[in-house]
Symmetry: C2
Subunit: 200 residues, 2 copies
């Protein structure tokens, strides 16, 4: 069985959202499974001296334009949310809670959370919003709400984050395909070629 495509992303990353909207179709074309791994990039950004793209002089204006243009090109619904960026502890915890109980269902929750934020402009940093999005997919809001405050899930997220850092992940989206790392939604073409042709 071929390795799954490892898909690391931050819920506050617009290019991560773009990749999330395209990764499953790519994986299906290449007959691969995916492994969705949301992370908190704050710690990495400190290490690499990065700031959120849209907050940087000059680059920020360009980023807003590039995001809108790329969304139109790929026919993805998108608006830059307000507030942006936001803390993504709540959606990450909801994801890992579900992932450890029903891994097949977890990517759909991640995608719904991404769409809530980048399409419907709902503030997923608010635990109540994250719970509501999960409830809309049929998950028990009481259980999800409890999970967001559970020490076990907190530890689970830290573990996932540490594992990503140890794997060299420093941005979003960050994709590892057959051991090869690819950073950015604009590397999806290379990811697909890497899987289709093998290493070049």
């Amino acid at each position: 069985m071929a390795d799954p495509i490892e898909f690391y992303f931050d819920f506050s990353s617009p290019y991560g959202y773009f990749a999330a909207m395209r990764i499953e179709a790519l994986a299906a074309r290449q007959q691969r499974k995916t492994l969705w791994r949301p992370i908190l990039l704050g710690a990495v950004f400190k290490l690499t001296g990065q700031q959120p793209l849209t907050t940087i002089p000059l680059k920020g204006d360009y980023a807003r334009r590039d995001l809108a243009r790329t969304a139109r090109l790929w026919a993805l619904p998108f608006r830059l949310p307000d507030p942006f960026p936001v803390a993504t502890v709540a959606p990450c915890r909801a994801f890992y809670w579900l992932n450890d109980r029903d891994p097949e269902a977890a990517p759909a929750l991640a995608l719904a959370l991404y769409q809530a934020y980048f399409v419907a402009n709902r503030d997923i940093s608010d635990p109540a919003v994250t719970v509501a999005v999960a409830a809309e997919l049929g998950h028990d809001p009481v259980l999800v709400g409890q999970a967001l405050n559970a020490a076990e899930i907190k530890a689970r997220l830290k573990e996932a984050n540490d594992a990503a850092l140890a794997r060299g992940v420093f941005g979003s989206p960050y994709i590892i395909a057959d051991g090869e790392p690819f950073w950015g939604a604009d590397r999806l073409d290379q990811v697909e070629q890497w899987l289709a042709r093998g290493p070049w």
Copy 2:
């Protein structure tokens, strides 16, 4: 007559080199002229808080890998030079000196300087190397050497740099096609679609 493709780049930028190797073929396919505009990104990097990609923790290791992989994919000869990055005042001055005398010949000099640095590992920050590269293309080494120290050329480069900044240029390569800005060698596909289909 349709507008030329404005092509801004820093001679120390590997992705700028990649774009330089591909921009003329793209322009020919889309029946456009090009306007090559080397700049010094140091001033912009201060403003945007950027550092050279390969010097950033985590990102640097990835960048080296991505550069080598992308060069192989596009079949471009490439090695990361040593030293890297370098100051590029000398090649910029040589370019503008030639550009103001023989604009048709200037892109070929820029490409030769890029190849000297990113293929042959010659240190183009050394004025003697820049003069030698120009001489290999048939330009008078005495005149080029004088130009590198001329107050007029120094002012000309400053003017070109200020104009780029005023245009919003903050990275390399940075391409403006029909008024639309594109940053990065990985946006060349979008540049070509923008010209082929018109704005979307």
